[in-house]
Every structure is written in C-alpha cells, then in structure tokens.
C-alpha cells in the first residue's frame, strides 16, 4: 500500500513552499487585502513560470501533463500562503471544465493560455443566495446569446474566460442546463467588483446582455459537467484548506510557545494545549480525507463523488476550527488587523462557501453514501 504522495510529488510541494515563502509573504498578501491591487500580478506570472498553472493540463495543450496529485500538493501550498491570485477559479474550475467538456478546438484555444498565465478563467454559476442547483439557474441562453446576471463569481472582475451555466429549457429536469464559454474581451458582459469577506480574493457580479457565447460540451449536459467540476474543485480546495489549517495551527502553536503570562508560556496551560491538540485532530482528519479525495480524483475512481464530499466537509470544518482558535490562542493580538490571524480566519470562512455551503455538501455526502449502499 502506498497511500501517500510520491517523493517527486513531495519535492514539488517543497519547491512550491519555498517559492511561496519567498514570493508571497504575508505583506504581499496584504497589498491585495488593503485593496491596492486586485490580485498579485507578479506572483501570477511566477506561478506560470514555475509551471503551477498547467501542472494538470496535458502537454498537447501546453501544460506539464503531470496530473492531479501534483496539483493537490501545489494547492496545499497556495492555501498555506494565502496566495492572492485567481488560482482556484482558473485552474480548478475553468481548466477542469474545459478538460472535461471542451472540444479539441476549445482546449487548443484556451488551455495553453491558462498554462502560460495569459488567461484568467472562472465559472459563473451562482445567481444570488443559495447553493448549487439547476433550479437556481435563471440566466437564459438562446440563439447563441446569454442574458442574465451571475453573482457571486469568483475572480469575475479579472476573468478573461468565463464558463457560464445557463438555462436552455424549462422542463424541471437537470437537462435544462447547458454550459457556455464566453470570451470576456469580446463584449456583452459587464463586471462589477463586489466587496467581500476575504478581500484577498475577488468576487464580482457579471451581467450578460445579448452576450455571444459558444456551447461548452453537449447541450443539456451542463449540470452533469458542473457536478463533476464541483467534485474536482472540492478535492483541490480541500488541499488549500488543509494547507491553511496547518498554517493556522502552527501560528497558534508558535504564539503559545513564545507568549508568557502568569510567569510561564501560555502553551503550558492545559486550556491552551488542549485547544491546540483539538486543532491538530481536525487538521489531521481533514488531511486524511483530502488524501482519499486526491486518490479518487487522480484515478478517476467511481468513489470520487463521495470522496470529494468527505474531503470538502472535513477540510471546511478543520480550517474554520483552526482559523478561529488560532485567534483565540493569540488573545487580543489575534483580533488586530496587524496580526495575520484574521487573514486565515477570513480565508477559512470564504472557502467554506465558495463551492456551496457546508450543509449542501453534508446533504450531498449522505445522498452519495446511500447511492453506494443501494448499489
């Protein structure tokens, strides 16, 4: 049994960690946090040069053709460093949707540009409050044009390529939904940046007005493709969450070792130690569930839907837990803007929502477990 990453993959992780430690220290994250930039352009360029953007894209489409396990280890480091770049929307959502459903021409057009950092991509799915559901999609596609509004769209204000979930019928079935591909530069779509919980990652409202769009994948297959994309993104995001959980735990541990109160390091008080031990437990459970997700993703196993939901729930819980208790360990200092704790707290809670809420994924997990049991 080898339920672990290979030495090469671990080396890639170390390489990514080193790169991010140098190019993406907290003060670089703060440039975006403080609203001075919409994302870290230099870092994004560095990602392309390091080959992070195309690691799972096949060589024939300009990528490294490595695979999803390699992408998982990079995602972990992206999460650990709070990298303020549109990595998840471009790589986990847009590139995955293209690889799953794109025609050869579409892949030839877009994937090399994603790998090179030239194109930022995203998926426009949500239309206001609510979780992923075909019923919630009102934006209409007819005669090759889209009309309607999407929000929130992750990195929507900076995206060049937008994959849009649109309604093409009204029978009440999943097959009412189809996917479309929009070149943002071609006009017909207006982006409005929205303020949000985690300013290190942009959110936008996109309004489509007679916007030209080309179909992505078979008409009526949209929901099926979205479900698959969300499962893949759930696993990859879980690695970001695991990386963030570990970092929040380390920050809390380090502070507990350094901070003296009542004449002793606060880490010697059981009330503090036990809080940190429980954070370690959450982070460990999340990591193990994420590894199972990585295995299912990399082998395209039939277990992927269940593994993805488990990874998603476990990683969401762990990051929220570690994010909030890291602040608690820091006491008053943890509640200041100056300390970095709130950046992890914000990211933890934003990632918890991006692909649909915890309760949505809980529901999904039980459905999928029942399906397996019935089979």
């Amino acid at each position: 049994m080898n339920f672990d990453f290979s030495d090469d993959q671990k080396q890639l992780r170390d390489q990514a960690r080193k790169f991010l430690a140098e190019k993406c220290p907290p003060k670089a994250v703060r440039v975006v946090l403080d609203g001075k930039e919409t994302y870290d352009r230099a870092l994004w360029k560095g990602f392309a040069e390091m080959g992070f953007l195309g690691v799972a894209i096949p060589e024939e489409y300009g990528g490294a053709g490595a695979g999803h396990l390699e992408l998982c280890v990079i995602a972990e480091e992206v999460g650990r460093a709070l990298a303020p770049v549109p990595f998840s929307s471009t790589v986990y959502l847009a590139a995955e949707a293209l690889m799953l459903a794109g025609s050869d021409a579409q892949k030839q057009t877009w994937l090399p540009k994603i790998a090179s950092g030239e194109t930022i991509g995203t998926l426009a799915l949500f239309e206001g409050t609510g979780n992923p559901s075909p019923k919630a999609i009102k934006l209409a596609a007819a005669n090759g044009v889209l009309n309607g509004t999407k929000k929130p769209v992750a990195d929507g204000a900076i995206a060049d390529l937008i994959i849009v979930a649109a309604r093409t019928a009204s029978t009440g079935r999943d097959s009412d939904i189809s996917l479309f591909l929009v070149d943002a530069k071609a006009g017909g779509v207006e982006a409005k940046a929205l303020t949000n919980l985690d300013p290190t990652r942009g959110q936008a409202e996109l309004t489509f007005t007679n916007c030209k769009a080309e179909p992505l994948g078979t008409a009526g297959e949209g929901w099926s493709i979205i479900s698959q994309v969300l499962d893949r993104a759930a696993v990859l995001t879980a690695f970001e969450q695991v990386g963030g959980s570990d970092r929040a735990l380390e920050m809390g541990r380090d502070y507990a070792l350094d901070r003296i109160a009542f004449g002793r390091p606060i880490g010697s008080f059981q009330a503090v130690k036990h809080m940190l031990a429980d954070m370690y437990v959450s982070a460990t459970l999340a990591r193990s569930n994420a590894y199972y997700g990585a295995w299912a993703l990399s082998t395209n196993a039939p277990e992927l839907p269940e593994a993805a939901a488990s990874a998603r729930i476990s990683a969401t819980q762990a990051y929220q837990h570690c994010g909030k208790n890291n602040i608690q360990v820091h006491g008053g200092m943890g509640f200041t803007w100056e300390f970095d704790c709130h950046m992890y707290y914000r990211r933890a809670n934003a990632l918890a929502l991006g692909l649909g809420s915890l309760s949505y994924w809980e529901d999904q997990l039980i459905d999928r477990m029942r399906k397996r049991n019935a089979a």
């Binding site: 390091p265 295995w295 529901d363």
Partner: protein
C-alpha cells in the same frame, strides 16, 4: 498513490488468507462480526476457551505474535506483515482481546528486561495464549499519574515482599502472570523510587476482586497484595529504575492501526436508513443527514489516517504521530453516536431487552463509552500527549517532581 500491496505483501496476504480460511473458527464468525462495539460475547460458548483455542492454533502454525522473534514464539515478521495479518484475521481478531495486554505490553517488557532463560521459559506460552498476562500499574492513588503509586516492595534477602493495592487491572481474574510496578524507595522523588517485577498471579497473598463497572459488566479488577513474595530473579530492570521500564511497556501499547478503531458510524448509518420518522426513512431528514455527515467524515478521516500509517510501514518507515488521534476521536464519537441513536427513538429509546434489541445495542455502546474515554490514557492525557509530543508544547508544571515521594500531599480538601 494507491492502495495496492507490493508483490511480497500480496504473497503474504494470500498465505495468511488461505490459512485463516482453512483454520478459523467459522461457526462464530457472524456473532463476532455483529459484536463490533461494547462487548464481544458468544451465546453458546465460553469466549475465553474459544479465544485460547484459536490463539494456540495460530501459534502452532506460526501465526501468533507475528512481530516477535521466532525463538520467543513469534514469526519474526515485519510491521506491515503484522498489519496485513490483522486485516485478514478480521472478526476473528476480536478473539485476541484477552491477549492484548500480555502480547502488546507485558511481552515486550519481558523481552527487553528479563534474563534469556526467563524469556525462553515465559514468552512462548504467552504467545500461544496458554498463559495469560496482566499489567499491574494503576492504583487508587495513581491513575493518569501512574508514578504516584504506593504499593510497596521491600527487600528481604533474595526476595521482595509486596504489600498494597492495584486497580483497573484488566483480565486479572483469568491471568496467570502479571507485570507489577512497585515503590521501593519512598524517600526520593516519585519517578526515582519505582521497581518493576513479574509474578505468578497464583502466588499466596494475591487476591483478585472484580469491579462491577457502570455498564454492569466486570472486565476490570482490584488486586490486593498481602505479604506476597517475589524472587529477586523476577525483577525487570534495575532497582529504582522501574519508571524507565514502565515507559517501555507504555510505548509498546498495541498498535491498533491494522484493526481500525470502532466509531459506531456504520451501525448508526444502518439504523438511520431503516428507522421511519414522520412516515419516511430517518436518513431523509435534514437534521439526521447533517449529523450523519459530520460523523461520516470523522470515521473516514480515521480510516484514511490509518491507511497513511500503514503506508509508512509498507515503505519501512515509522508511522507519523497522526495515528495518536484514533482513541481520542473514536471514544467520544461512540458516546455521541449512541446517545443520538437513542434520541431518535424518543421515549422508547430507554427500553432494552429482547423486544428492543436495537435500542439495547446502542445502550450497550453508550454505557461502555465512558470507559473508552478513560482507559489507556484519558481524553485529557491524550490531548496532553498530542500537545507535548506532536506539537512540542511545554509539559505541565509538576509541583511534586522534585519532592521526596513521602512528602507529596495525599489529600485534597478533606
């Protein structure tokens, strides 16, 4: 990343599987499988006899204590082979419960500290289950604080005379031998005045009294020592070095990674799938689903944490510290799962007996769970271990560390 055996592992697994298929006591398989939590018992057979027979059969064929050297009754197998064996033994592994302490803790201590002659004499019958061993550490005055124990050992010529009391001794009532931690010098700080022995549990002056537990069962005992004589040749380690010997014992606590820990989740999932609430299966209820999902990811998280440890063994590496979370997570989870399964039944959840065997099953879980959270290191001790050994946080400030043991306070408010 994969879940596949190496060719050598596959060959070992095939050999183990074939032998188990041909030799295991299959007539008990269903019963053993069903008794996943609470207590393992057999309706029409004495479980101790069945367990001993299975252990002897394994030993005769070279499948007992796989990781022990052959000359002491083992197989000289690698850690991963031991895990594979546990996976293949499956429900029959539950029959090993009565040997866990002897094989997992007493045996390694004897192996590390006894004379060669004693090792050859005592270890093979321990491996084969013909002789059962128990571990006599905890006392009324020393549970989590094991080094606070007060049972005295006094030297008289070539012998030691033991007086005192042990408690929470699992299996003392059916054990043939025990390893015994005693105080040999009360005038020095507590960790420095301890000495370890092994003794025959049939020695004159040893009295075993079962403890009736909160669950109503009796798995543990109090053991009283009144002028019990132990020859000096049965001392394990140097006089007053018993704490280091005890650490050897405690570090050898059973590696349960192959067998996996019971969480109660599969039982709860089945239960919620079959229970009807408001005219539909309980599992279709929003609240039920949310609870189930939360426990599902804990159960799978533990499962894949074990897989990571097994993978380390497979590569010949030491597993990381992550496996230390198992008991801490599973202990309170079983308790919560059991309580929730009863809650779903409303007032009828209180009933047990033949007409309410489902409620009874979860009640057994509920009543056993507090023990799991205490034995072998309380939840609080487990958190200390994670915080100190894994995260590197400082140990507690110990006010009795440098005090002579006989000056350590013994009473609180009273």
């Amino acid at each position: 990343m994969n879940f596949d055996d190496t060719p050598q592992e596959a060959a070992f697994r095939a050999e183990a599987r074939a032998w188990i298929a041909a030799n295991a006591p299959k007539q008990y398989e269903d019963e053993l499988r069903a008794s996943s939590l609470g207590r393992t018992a057999l309706k029409n057979a004495n479980i101790l006899e069945v367990a001993k027979a299975w252990q002897k059969k394994k030993a005769d064929a070279g499948w007992a204590c796989l990781h022990w050297p052959k000359e002491y009754g083992g197989r000289g197998a690698s850690p991963i082979e031991r895990v594979i064996w546990q996976q293949e033994e499956g429900p029959f592994g539950k029959l090993s419960a009565m040997f866990i302490i002897g094989h997992g803790m007493c045996g390694p201590t004897v192996m590390a500290y006894a004379s060669e002659e004693h090792k050859r004499q005592y270890l093979p019958p321990l491996a084969s289950g013909e002789k059962v061993w128990c571990q006599l550490f905890s006392e009324p005055a020393g549970g989590s604080d094991v080094a606070g124990l007060r049972t005295r050992a006094e030297k008289r010529g070539d012998e030691w005379v033991i007086n005192g009391q042990k408690i929470w001794t699992s299996g003392a009532h059916y054990s043939d031998y025990g390893i015994l931690l005693t105080r040999t010098d009360p005038t020095v700080p507590k960790h420095k005045g301890l000495t370890m022995f092994f003794l025959d549990m049939k020695s004159p002056g040893v009295e075993v009294r079962p403890i009736k537990q909160a669950s109503g069962h009796s798995d543990f005992n109090e053991v009283y020592f009144t002028d019990v004589v132990i020859p000096d040749s049965q001392r394990l380690g140097a006089v007053n070095d018993g704490w280091n010997v005890a650490l050897t014992t405690l570090m050898n606590e059973r590696m349960s990674i192959g067998a996996g820990v019971a969480t109660g989740f599969p039982e709860l999932f089945d239960f919620c799938s079959n229970l009807v609430l408001d005219d539909r299966p309980a599992i279709e209820d929003r609240n039920v689903r949310s609870k189930l999902a939360n426990w599902a990811v804990k159960a799978s998280g533990l499962k894949y944490t074990s897989m990571r440890a097994i993978s380390a063994l497979s590569k010949g590496e030491r597993p990381g510290p992550e496996n230390s979370i198992g008991k801490l997570v599973a202990g309170s989870m079983v308790q919560d799962v059991a309580s929730y399964a009863l809650d779903l039944q409303g007032a009828a959840g209180v009933l047990s007996g033949p007409e309410a065997d489902v409620a009874g099953k979860f009640q057994a879980m509920l009543l056993r769970a507090p023990g799991t959270r205490v034995e072998g290191g309380t939840d609080e001790i487990m958190r200390n271990i994670i915080a100190e050994r894994v995260l590197g946080l400082p140990g507690d400030i110990r006010v009795d560390k440098d005090l002579p043991f006989n000056q350590v306070p013994t009473k609180g408010r009273a």
